[in-house]
């Protein structure tokens, strides 16, 4: 297993960022890797930015700085873009095109960035980038997070094997949602298996 690896999850309050981070923490615990997490979610319920940094390895914190993130999971494209200074050339990124527009964009005072163009840029800069332009219709938007985790698990630098991540989901998610969650994970894992984006 790798040592000292940093994962960042970025998105908007309500997208299940903390939930996703809990699954990754569980995966680390199951793997016996020291883990710590730093979440920033001040006013998340009021639609603010939420990020969760996960550090794997001894002396590795969840705090991240310039070029300090090895793996980025972006639940919202604008928030993914906001994180690029934390990436480095060996980083991997998986992100989806599910937009949540801030007030300024709705009020036509600002423009939402060109997501597809950004995805191309990122693809050229980083080791491996997966961009989900359209989420499959069968997935409820609340499970986009787990879908992206599935897609991430297939990427070559993701620190956990799919069995571990599945066990983590099984352990973190209880009751009624477990099956749906595992299905979303599976869908992500298998998503456009034969078509590599960017």
């Amino acid at each position: 297993m790798i040592k000292n690896y940093k994962i960042l999850i970025a998105g908007v309050g309500g997208q299940g960022i903390v939930y996703l981070s809990n699954i990754i923490v569980e995966a680390a615990m199951l793997s016996g890797i020291p883990v710590s997490v730093s979440e920033i979610h001040g006013l998340s319920q009021r639609g603010g930015v939420v990020t969760s940094g996960i550090g794997l390895g001894e002396y590795c914190t969840g705090f991240y700085g310039k070029a300090g993130v090895d793996f980025l999971i972006g639940l919202e494209p604008l928030e993914t873009q906001r994180c690029i200074s934390y990436l480095h050339t060996r980083s991997s990124v998986v992100f989806g095109n599910y937009r949540i527009q801030p007030y300024s964009v709705n009020a036509q005072m600002a423009e939402y960035p060109d997501v597809v163009e950004f995805a191309y840029y990122l693809g050229k800069q980083c080791t491996e980038v997966a961009f989900i332009e359209h989420f499959p219709e069968e997935i409820d938007s609340v499970l986009y997070n787990v879908f992206l985790l599935g897609r991430a698990t297939r990427m070559k630098d993701f620190p956990f094997k799919k069995e571990i991540t599945e066990r983590a989901i099984d352990s973190v998610v209880t009751g009624y949602y477990k099956e749906k969650t595992l299905r979303a994970f599976k869908l992500g894992l298998d998503y456009e298996l034969n078509k590599q984006m960017v």
Binding site: Y59, G68, E111
Partner: protein, 730 residues
């Protein structure tokens, strides 16, 4: 939630590793230490601690759980959100004096509110252990200042612990309980956002059930009178020299990276230590430096620091977030001991006393300090990031869609012309403070908890003798009203201030996660205090309760309250969308259809002086809406249907014609925040229907306001619009 509660209550006879948030670790540690009662006022970043005990209390009080889980429901932990931090600390002190161990939890500014209780109890005595947890917020993620609570250690002469990680916090809470019981002083554990909201691995153990047996001892220390105070002060200072204190100072002064003899020494405390540890190890320079982490910061670990200072370093760096408290203590002790090593701190390499530390900041500081370039071990940044970072739209927090505060602000916008009137709107802390931001901009001042009503009366008084004897308006949330607003209101009534107080009563403490308060108690164990009789008993002559969604009636009441000379209070009462009663309504998922006859009955059509709002009028929307409201020739308030006064008739027809742009314009004619309109609309112009294939008007609004050509949104709504239109069948 129940699983998390069971988890936190479950004892482990052998060490059990788990990865938890600092705040969760603190709660667990208190349980392991045998806490009997927790008293708190919510506030980020402290809230999770108290929320856990709120759940624990609910869980343990439930007879079903008592039967099902006898082990973890015995000796239940008392929990209370007191109405403010002063009372929370006072009750915790009293609880401790009654020989039951207590914890009191609050955020940084909360300690100001509670400080009077802290400053005297130290001269007296407590009974069972009493631990105070104060969570600071360097960087002001969610606070009105970034004050450094470490001063309280010195100022109140109480032992203070300053953890760097969740694991530290967990251990230190247990140490704090033990020490407090031994020296009969409250002990403060101070965290920061980055400790409270960080997750790390913590080892759970057994839970102490040696609970305190209620007992009150009549002691002279309980009587604080001037004659005894001076001697009591000396006794207090002696307590800090107790061997138990000295032992804890030693235990919590830890060497890190100490294997090699180094020329550079670092003394750090709190989260600074975490940053150092990662950066030094990540950049393989741990052999170049020795680090002393100080976990206990009051009293100052003099012995440990002197011994570190004497190790003959060339340079010593002091790292601490916010004020130079540690630095000054180290310099003082160095001076006293005639140690001439160069000491660096604030002012070195960009270290300032504002804001929080970061990996980047500390990386730079350590490179400068060690005179070493870390770039060989650094990752390569992406190219052209500026291009993709410049002009990115910010994402400030905003009032939730459907939030009743939006309706109240809309009402205020109608009643008060911000351009023409000099009327001052004094805001307060809470969700509705977001009304200060665009697009609402309906607040002139926001300060600290409970200031609104004082601000209004002070501003009124300042202009009292001048010609403009205008009323001043105070806006305050229901939680804040009970926290400290009531006292200010008493003062306003007493001094005959001419102010209007609008209580944004969303039936909960919204900002911090929907805690109960005396005005909205929810649980039967609490007595709910109805605000209007309280205000009338207090002598407020005009008290009006309004439903902010009922615009016409509310507008009238608001104007009456504005005209009243003296203290008038308007209570805008409607539930927060996160409360069950709001959700219940939504959960009914009733299918609804538009009634054409009723749709045509809105004010737009009854007011002969103003043409139908299909005529696009981009400038004077608010004044037109206002004119309509006060117009004589219109249907009565009770009959009025669209609270935002939107012509649903025109809107509806535009959609049927496929003219979505017009439809949006009709909404925007009356509602600045068109998209929100769809979310807050409570569909008064619709009738319930059993037909499955009917789309409610709210959904129509939502779909139209989300159309791409109007809002340049290239994502899903296009498809959703398509799908939605398919489903419309009229």
């Amino acid at each position: 939630m129940i699983e998390r509660t069971i988890k936190i209550l479950t004892p482990h006879t052998s060490p059990h590793k788990t990865c938890v948030m600092g705040n969760e670790g603190i709660a667990r540690a208190a349980l392991e230490a045998g806490v009997n009662g927790v008293f708190a006022y919510p506030g980020t970043p402290s809230t999770e601690i108290s929320e856990i005990f709120s759940h624990v209390n609910t869980f343990q009080s439930n007879p079903i759980n008592q039967e099902k889980y006898p082990e973890i429901t015995k000796d239940p932990v008392y929990f209370e959100y007191s109405i403010n931090e002063k009372i929370a600390l006072e009750k915790a002190i009293a609880y401790s004096i009654g020989n039951r161990s207590a914890m009191c939890v609050m955020k940084n500014v909360g300690m100001n509110v509670a400080s009077d209780a802290l400053m005297s109890v130290t001269y007296q005595t407590i009974g069972a252990p009493l631990v105070i947890v104060v969570c600071d917020d360097p960087g002001c993620h969610s606070s009105s200042n970034e004050q450094d609570s470490r001063y309280w250690g010195q100022m109140a002469s109480v032992p203070m612990l300053n953890p760097a990680t969740p694991a530290d916090a967990f251990e230190m809470i247990k140490q704090a309980f033990e020490l407090s019981g031994k020296i009969k002083l409250p002990v403060i554990v101070r965290t920061t956002t980055r400790v409270s909201h960080t997750k790390g691995i913590v080892t759970y153990g057994n839970i102490n059930h040696e609970f305190g047996i209620p007992k009150f001892e009549r002691l002279p220390e309980h009587i604080n009178i001037p004659a005894r105070t001076a001697a009591a002060h000396a006794r207090l200072l002696d307590k800090l020299k107790n061997e138990n204190v000295l032992e804890l100072l030693a235990v919590n002064s830890k060497y890190i990276f100490n294997e090699h003899k180094a020329k550079h020494g670092i003394i750090s405390t709190g989260v600074a230590t975490t940053y150092i540890t990662e950066i030094l190890s990540q950049n393989n320079v741990t052999e170049k430096v020795n680090v002393l982490d100080l976990g206990m910061i009051h009293p100052f670990p003099e012995k440990e620091v002197v011994s570190f200072l004497k190790r003959d370093y060339e340079k010593i760096l002091i790292l601490e977030e916010l004020d130079a408290i540690l630095e000054n203590s180290v310099r003082t002790i160095a001076q006293k001991n005639k140690i001439n090593t160069t000491i660096l701190g604030k002012g070195f390499a960009g270290l300032v006393t504002t804001g929080e530390f970061s990996i980047d900041l500390i990386t730079n500081v350590l490179q400068d300090f060690l005179e070493t370039d870390f770039s060989s071990t650094e990752n390569i940044t992406l190219a052209d990031t500026e291009k993709y970072l410049n002009n990115l739209p910010p994402r400030p927090p905003a009032l939730c869609a459907g939030c009743p505060h939006r309706a109240t602000f809309y009402l205020l916008k109608l009643a008060i012309s911000r351009e023409q009137s000099e009327l001052i709107l004094c805001g307060d802390i809470g969700c509705f403070g977001l009304g200060a931001l665009p697009p609402l901009k309906m607040l002139d001042t926001i300060n600290h908890m409970g200031m609104s009503i004082s601000m209004a009366q002070g501003l009124f008084e300042s202009a009292h003798n001048s010609e403009k004897k205008q009323k001043v308006v105070a806006l305050v949330g229901d939680g804040t009203f009970f926290h400290s607003g009531l006292a200010s209101l008493v003062n306003a009534v007493y001094t005959r201030a001419n102010i209007l107080v609008v209580i944004f009563d969303n039936r909960t403490t919204g900002m911090t996660g929907h805690q109960a308060h005396p005005g909205a108690s929810r649980l039967p164990k609490y007595h709910e205090i109805d605000i209007p009789p309280l205000l009338k008993g207090l002598g407020v002559e005009m008290v009006k309760t309004i439903n902010p969604f009922n615009i016409r009636d509310s507008f009238k009441q608001l104007n009456k309250a504005m005209e009243f000379e003296g203290v008038s209070v308007v209570i805008a009462k409607a539930s927060c969308i996160f409360l069950p009663d709001f959700k219940d309504k939504i959960d009914k998922k009733l299918k609804i259809a538009v009634d054409h006859n009723r749709c045509n009955s809105c004010a737009n059509h009854e007011d002969a002086l103003i043409s139908c709002s299909r005529c696009y009028a981009p400038k004077n929307n608010l004044s037109r809406a206002k004119a309509k409201l006060i117009s004589e020739i219109s249907i009565s308030g009770d009959e009025q249907l669209c609270p935002a006064n939107i012509c649903n008739h025109g809107f509806f027809n535009s959609i049927i014609e496929g003219d979505y742009k017009s439809a949006v314009e009709i909404v925007r004619d009356k509602m600045l925040f068109a998209r929100t309109c769809s979310a807050i609309c409570h569909r008064p112009c619709e009738l319930f229907s059993t037909q499955n294939n009917v789309v409610p008007i709210k959904k129509l609004k939502h779909l139209v306001s989300a159309i791409d050509e109007n809002f340049r949104d290239f994502s899903h709504p296009k498809k959703r619009t398509k799908n939605a239109i398919k489903k419309i069948s009229l």
